[in-house]
Amino acid sequence: MKNNERNADDVIFDFSARSEEFLETFFRKGAEFTEQMLAESQKMKARIQELTEENIQLRSQLASDDAVKDLLYKIQKLEEEKTRIRMSADDAKREFQSYEDRYEEMERELDQMANLYVASSQLHATMESSQVLSVIEQMLMQFVGAASIGIFLRGYDAEQQPLLRPVHAFQCEHISGTTVAWNSAPIGEVAATGVSYITEPESKSDKDTPVACIPLLFGGDVVGVIVVYELLEQKDKFVNVDYELFRLLAEHAASAIIGSGLYARTDSVAAALDCFDSL
C-alpha cells in the first residue's frame, strides 16, 4: 500500500513537474512569440512610415509634374498667342503702310487738283486778251517753273498757207517778228499734228530750242502753240502735275484766247450776251 502511495506521490510530483515545465515552456515560447510579434510590428510600422513618406514624395512629384505640364501648356498657348499677335501686328503694319501710301497719293492728287483748279479759274477769270496771255505765262512760270515762254497763234501767209505768229513772249524776245512754218519741227509740227512735244529738260542743247510745245486746240483744230524754251534753274524735270497742266492748257487756253478775242469786238458785257437772245 505504501508502495502504492509513493507511486501516487511520484506521479503527482511528476505531473506537477511536467506541468511546470510545460507552463515554463509555454510562457517562454509565448514571450518569445510576443517579442517576435513586437519586433515584426516595429518593422511593419517602420515600413509603413517609409511607404507613407514615399507616397507623399510621389504625390508631390506628381503634383509638380502636373504643374510643369500646366506651365508647358500655358507657354505653348502664349507662344501661339504671340504668333497670332505678331501676325496681326504685321497685318496692321502693312495696312498702316498702305493707308500711309494712299494718304500720300491723295495728298499729291489734292495738290494736283488744287493747281489745276487755280489754273483753270484764273484762265477764265478775265476776258481781256492781254490778260489771258499773261495768265498762261503765269501758269507756266508759277506752276511748271518755266523761265522762258512764247505763245504762237495761227495766221496765214500771202498764199493763204497756215503759219504761226508769236503774240506773246516772256524772256525770249528773239521770237518777236518771226513766223514759224506750219510743218517745221518741232513747233510747226505740233501745230500740224496737234500732238504735244515734250522733251527731257536735261537733254536740251541751247536756249532757243523748245523744251515743250503744247498745241492750242479749239473744236478739234489747232489754233496755236505754246512754247516753253527754258525752265527755272531749280527745275530739272517735268512731273505729273506738269503734264496735267499742259493737257489743261491744250484744251482750255485756246477757248479762253478766242473768247477774249471775240469779247474785244463787243463794247460791253450786255452786247456779248445779245447772241443768247435768239436762242
Binding site: 495728298e107 503765269q138 511748271v144 534753274e233 531749280q234
Partner: protein, 125 residues
C-alpha cells in the same frame, strides 16, 4: 477760331490763290493777302502777324526790301519770314537769309513742303 495769322505778299493772284489753298489745310490759320511790299507793310502795321510769306520779284517794293524793313521794325522784327520765289540761285538764297528771312522756298512750290515749313516756323505739331 484762328490762333495764327499769316500775311502773304505776292503779286501773282494765281500764286496767292495756290498758297492760300495750301495753307487752308493748316487748322486755326488765318491768311491776309497783299499785292506787293508796300501793301504788305500796310497790312502788317494794321494787325498782329505770326508769319510773313513773301515773293521776291514784285512791283513797287520787292520782297528783299520788305524783309529788311520788317527786320528793322521794332514791333515786327521777330516775325518769321518765308520767301517763295522763282530765284533759285544759291547767292539769292544766301542774300535773303542774310537779310533775315527764315526759310527760302523756290517755285514751283510743292504744297506739302510749304505746309511743313510753315508748321515748323509756327511751331505747330
Amino acid at each position: 477760331m484762328a490762333q495764327y495769322t499769316c500775311l502773304i505778299v505776292e503779286d501773282s493772284p494765281m500764286m496767292r490763290q495756290l498758297i492760300v489753298f495750301a495753307l487752308g489745310r493748316i487748322r486755326n490759320l488765318k491768311v491776309v493777302e497783299a499785292d506787293d511790299g508796300v501793301d504788305g507793310l500796310k497790312k502788317l502795321a494794321s494787325g498782329k502777324f505770326d508769319l510773313v510769306i513773301t515773293d521776291i520779284n514784285m512791283p513797287i517794293m520787292d520782297g528783299l526790301k520788305l524783309v529788311k524793313r520788317i527786320r528793322s521794325d521794332a514791333v515786327h522784327k521777330d516775325v518769321p519770314i518765308m520767301i517763295i520765289t522763282t530765284e533759285g540761285a544759291a547767292e539769292d538764297r544766301q542774300r535773303a537769309l542774310q537779310l533775315g528771312a527764315n526759310e527760302y522756298v523756290t517755285k514751283p512750290i510743292q504744297a506739302p513742303q510749304v505746309i511743313s515749313k510753315v508748321k515748323e516756323l509756327l511751331k505747330i505739331q
